[in-house]
Symmetry: D3
Subunit: 150 residues, 6 copies
């Protein structure tokens, strides 16, 4: 095992005692709102390109690919909500449930819509979730080291 890996392992163990939670994060404990944001950004760009084009084949494809991307954003949000967030987080941020509910409903809206504003609203909601995730220690506790240079 490389030195880096050993240090990561060690750091991981030192960081431990988070036995506060009834259900630990098994099996992996890796979560990041970036996953939902990347899919939501796809929707944003697809809507832009939809309006920039007048090719009916291209526009049709925009609708079907957006349907899938918005569905993936929804998936990633669901997982964050029920797998990452725990009761103490909800005490700290009582609007967790409502924000996720709005955000997942907004994913459905982005499926239905070709308005850039709808995609922007989804990005804004994901950024609110990102903020709660960071304030509950997300960046430190749910990634392994993370992207170099970040």
């Amino acid at each position: 095992m490389s030195l880096a890996a050993r240090l990561l392992t060690l750091a991981d163990r030192v960081r431990e005692p988070r036995t506060v939670y009834a259900h630990c994060d098994i099996p992996c404990g890796i979560y990041d709102p970036e996953q939902a944001r990347i899919e939501a950004e796809s929707c944003y760009k697809i809507i832009q390109k939809y309006h920039d084009s007048d090719d009916p084949v291209f526009r049709d494809r925009c609708l079907l690919v957006k349907e899938d991307r918005a569905g993936l954003a929804k998936e990633h949000l669901y997982t964050l909500w029920s797998d990452h967030f725990k009761p103490p987080h909800v005490e700290q941020f009582p609007n967790v449930h409502d924000t996720f509910w709005q955000a997942t409903k907004q994913c459905s809206q982005v499926k239905r819509s070709v308005e850039l504003e709808d995609a922007q609203k989804l990005l804004d909601l994901i950024d609110e979730i990102d903020d709660m995730w960071k304030k509950t220690g997300g960046l430190e506790s749910t990634r392994v080291a993370g992207r170099p240079g970040n």
Copy 2:
């Protein structure tokens, strides 16, 4: 449309003329090696937890969830390789093909292995790809604004 959205749209148009490429990035042009990294980090943590446990049910589940996560890392790498990278990038980084080949083969190895070193090697290969992606303008051209505060 909100002001922010309008500015993003404007910024996006100003950034344009990348007509160098034979195939434009339609339908969305959003790519980020973070997607592969997040799945590879899952594999890393799953292997750690596999060794920390002696519960056979838990260990079995580690193997099956890791199989899926490594498969997702592989998917994200394939997409980056054939959808994001273009001939000029390959001229700039002649080892693009080989690095992706090694990285996707390493995903298969991570499926097979319970050695932390194998997961670390995958993370290292993804970081090499991340570096090439950044040096070919990835961060600026393939995301919409990105995570706030980054």
Copy 3:
């Protein structure tokens, strides 16, 4: 179009004005907690059969099939929560969010567990959701006629 189909169409139109909701039920408006219940029942039976067997191959397969089935139950619950339930429902049942949160977390627990009690707890939570769904008019408004003889 058959007479039955025409009557269904008519009944559907008469039943209308549900413009109360911000987001209509497009694209289909068909929801039923039975979908989640059927998958949760699979988990229940798989756990029973896991304990009734001492064949290691069979027991391994129980774990991997249960992982998928509990994942499907989770999916169906997520869809009910963010697509079917609307603000007026949450006013009527303020614990909607918490019940779904518990139920989806219980799906994760059923993935991890081989205790029948965990599967039973999931069934109980789904039955609470079923009750809220019925009391908000679920059976009448979210199915087309439904199973004959029910």
Copy 4:
């Protein structure tokens, strides 16, 4: 284990000796034509809404979502046919194969069509299957207790 769960377990064991079949229902033995019916009802409603709308974006989405829903109905029918039905059932209902063949072909037809009559014909075929399923003891032997109040 709760009393209810214990009784269910007991009931399940008492109900047993169905050693008639060469292949037992492992891994779970839970089947219900409701799964196919719910997806077919989605198709029915989508076709209604398709005709009620003149928004081309909405109509496009109807086609792509219907394609998926009809595909899911097909999946559930296939599983019922080859996993639930056993040789003694085919002796009792010699048209089992043909009915499933018609019903799965009708799923393909529903993908292709925007006629309500096609969706209704699929619902009728599923109801024929539901009838055979009930007459071969489906409701009692392939669910765990089932929806409360049914």
Copy 5:
């Protein structure tokens, strides 16, 4: 359009009038039992390798990958059965339904089993289907030219 492509197009049109069938082959008409055979061969090899190994991690992975492969074989068989085969084929081969029923049931058996004989039996059943497919003109009418040198 290349000359080869043009000839293929022409050949395709000349070959036409197959208005015998109630449902034409839309959307593509490409079918080949090879798809099911390849997945079934995977199962065969996985079972061989399962027995050649005594590494518990490897053996566990064999079971979970086999589960998926046998599931894919099943999918391909279902599609052949309900999408490719038409009433005149069933008149010509009255045992079409029963052979597919046996073959899809055998896929379930291959999921459950680690006996090479079970995988071989699935291959044999697929070869029977392959024979019926060939005798109903499969090779000529359901592929575009096909693999060079075949």
Copy 6:
């Protein structure tokens, strides 16, 4: 175990020592470019039928089914590239990487295009891969016996 199966097992063992490769073919070693070709042929036929029709519903469905089929062709190519091909093959055919890169990019092009020529170009690239696969012993080493009469 049948005699045929025993002979296959024997043949498989005799054929062995291919310890040349860093990563063995676990878990199955079954690969065949036919899988990609069949999906690419679907795309070819769908484009033909798209042009032969003037029904807007049918044409819409062509686009969405083609999107999926071209995606499956891409998947099969990725797997061949990173799982089947090994360093000695790349020494023998230095253009392996580039051919797969072109072919997977062509799958994206086929998603975007309704030109038959684009589908034909994909078929041609797959045939180049088929040729390399055959010249590296594909037909003998990566199938179990194969289709009867081939």
